[in-house]
């Protein structure tokens, strides 16, 4: 009879639809979490390039008047173009013209766009003209790990000295200071890669990888290095850096090192994002 089978079937149908809904929700959640994992663990897609100095802060100046701020902006643009065109990466420059940007703002940009790496490009200068070569820095432990800073932060506040950017709270300052600490090992790996590629560039010598308390690396919440591509105080290197073809070679070397780091990144997390 209809009255016997009808309600039974509709109950089953109702049960099936409930099961279907539960399954759909499960599938959606699994897919979302997989996508989330994919986006966060596998994607190497954002690079922030920081051309050092800018505007009134000219940086190093060579004997012929060649300025660091202009040299590094040109190299940064060339590198950015390579990364975009050849790897399809999302590239941000902390400045794309001759203007001054606060150093903390440069790192904040990298944090905001969730960059996979932060590369600051500089040119060096020294009192002795004989000093030459390229070197790559990552943040020193001391900058993130000394009691002096904590003690002095309190003393400075007690004395009414304000930080250069008007630091509002010690805690916030300390959190900023610590952003890079969890990435130091990866930063050192990236620094090694950048330096080894710079070494293969004809015309410059290896000054190695080093650690220093550089303010522009401090707040970066991702692997971050600063490369000094050469000495403008050295006449030979100033001549090289004045040449657009050489600056393109430098950009090529930096491109290769970032590509190597990207491949390592992909292999570490199980072969994602291979292009």
């Amino acid at each position: 009879m209809n009255s016997d089978t009808g309600p039974c079937l509709s109950r089953n149908q109702w049960r099936m639809s409930r099961l279907l809904r539960a399954t759909i929700v499960t599938i959606i959640m699994l897919a979302t979490s997989m996508a989330s994992v994919g986006a966060q663990q596998q994607g190497f897609r954002v690079v922030v390039i920081d051309p050092g100095h800018g505007g009134a802060e000219v940086g190093a100046v060579g004997a012929t008047g060649l300025m660091e701020k202009n040299v590094v902006l040109d190299i940064s643009k060339r590198l950015g173009q390579l990364l975009e065109e050849q790897l399809g990466l999302e590239v941000y420059l902390t400045r794309d013209q001759d203007i001054y940007k606060e150093k903390e703002g440069r790192t904040a940009l990298a944090n905001n766009v969730k960059a996979n790496v932060f590369l600051s490009i500089h040119a060096n200068s020294y009192r002795g003209r004989g000093v030459h070569g390229a070197e790559t820095f990552f943040l020193s432990d001391q900058a993130t790990d000394d009691d002096a800073r904590r003690l002095a932060a309190i003393e400075n506040n007690a004395m009414g000295l304000e930080g250069p950017t008007g630091s509002d709270s010690n805690l916030q300052m300390l959190l900023w200071d610590m952003a890079q600490t969890t990435h130091l090992r990866e930063s050192s790996v990236l620094a090694e890669m950048v330096q080894s590629n710079m070494n293969s560039l004809g015309g410059t010598t290896d000054r190695g990888i080093k650690q220093a308390p550089f303010v522009v690396l401090k707040g970066a919440n991702m692997p971050a290095v600063l490369v000094e591509v050469g000495f403008l105080s050295n006449p030979d290197e100033e001549r090289l850096l004045a040449d657009a073809a050489y600056r393109q070679q430098v950009a090529n070397m930096l491109f290769q090192s970032l590509n190597r780091y990207r491949q390592r990144h992909a292999s570490l997390i199980g072969g994602g994002s291979s292009q």
Binding site: L19, Q40, Y126, T144, L151, N156, L161, E162, T182, H183
Partner: protein, 262 residues
């Protein structure tokens, strides 16, 4: 048993599916929730899951759990003391500068550039000792500024002029320069590193009661001297840039600061 069978355990299957959904949801929220967008100070660390694990020594040291009360003397007392010198007895600290004043002279270690060497080299230099620690430190900085040697060069610009110097009980020396220090430092990170670490090492290695140096210009804190080295907090000497013996105490482990939870 077929699916049309009235005995098919729909309830069990449905509950299992719902339970699985909830578990996945919980897992997703706990492990993959997006981090804060707060620039710079994002305490949640998305990339921590992305990269190889970091040694706990760099990740966990000096994590502040409590913000010390500014200006509260008890919070100053509770902070970790420098391990290079015991500052608990102010008389000992004063005693060092008094002893130097009574001796009439003091031995300085000036950290200078020697051609061909990457790191700054200490040069022993004996000068007359003024009566107080503040004046003694000022004398050391002035020696660096005015230094002229045959084989050594001072990395501190000769145009630099000291406005004021004082040494806090904590062992931090405050060096306040006139603007010329800033203007004449020139560009380049190597120049900047040498200028800064020459002053820091000269003071910490010449005066055992000093363990760090805070730079100021015209009474204000500065972010950097030439766009690189972070000068917003006191600096301790670095063996990367100056030739110093790394004693056990130089590589400081943060003491457990009293009054900080957890």
């Amino acid at each position: 048993m077929s699916r049309n069978d009235a005995n098919f355990p729909w309830r069990v299957v449905t509950i299992s599916a719902m339970l699985l959904s909830v578990l996945v949801l919980i897992g997703w929220v706990f492990f993959f929730s997006p981090g804060s967008n707060n620039p710079g100070v994002s305490a949640t660390n998305d990339d921590a899951t992305e990269m190889a694990p970091v040694p706990p020594a760099t990740a966990a040291t000096s994590v502040p759990t409590v913000q010390p009360t500014v200006g509260d003397p008890s919070s100053l007392e509770s902070l970790a003391r420098p391990t290079t010198f015991d500052l608990t007895d102010a008389e000992i600290v004063d005693g060092l500068s008094i002893a130097r004043a009574e001796a009439g002279t003091m031995d300085l270690r000036l950290f200078l550039i020697v051609s061909g060497l990457e790191r700054l080299i200490p040069v022993l230099h004996t000068v007359a000792a003024p009566p107080t620690i503040d004046l003694q430190v000022r004398s050391a900085v002035d020696e660096l500024i005015s230094w002229s040697g045959d084989e050594t060069i001072s990395p501190v610009p000769p145009e630099s002029r000291v406005r004021e110097i004082w040494v806090a009980q904590s062992g931090v020396a405050y060096i306040d320069f006139y603007q010329s220090f800033f203007d004449f430092s020139g560009g380049g990170s190597l120049n900047e590193l040498h200028t800064v670490y020459s002053i820091v090492a000269t003071l910490t290695e010449s005066f055992p009661e000093i363990f760090a140096v805070q730079f100021l210009v015209e009474g204000e804190q500065i972010e950097t001297l030439a766009g690189h080295v972070d000068l917003s907090h006191p600096l301790q000497p670095s063996a990367d840039w100056v030739l110093i013996e790394q004693e056990g105490g130089t590589d400081q482990q943060p003491q457990d600061p009293g009054g900080i939870d957890g």
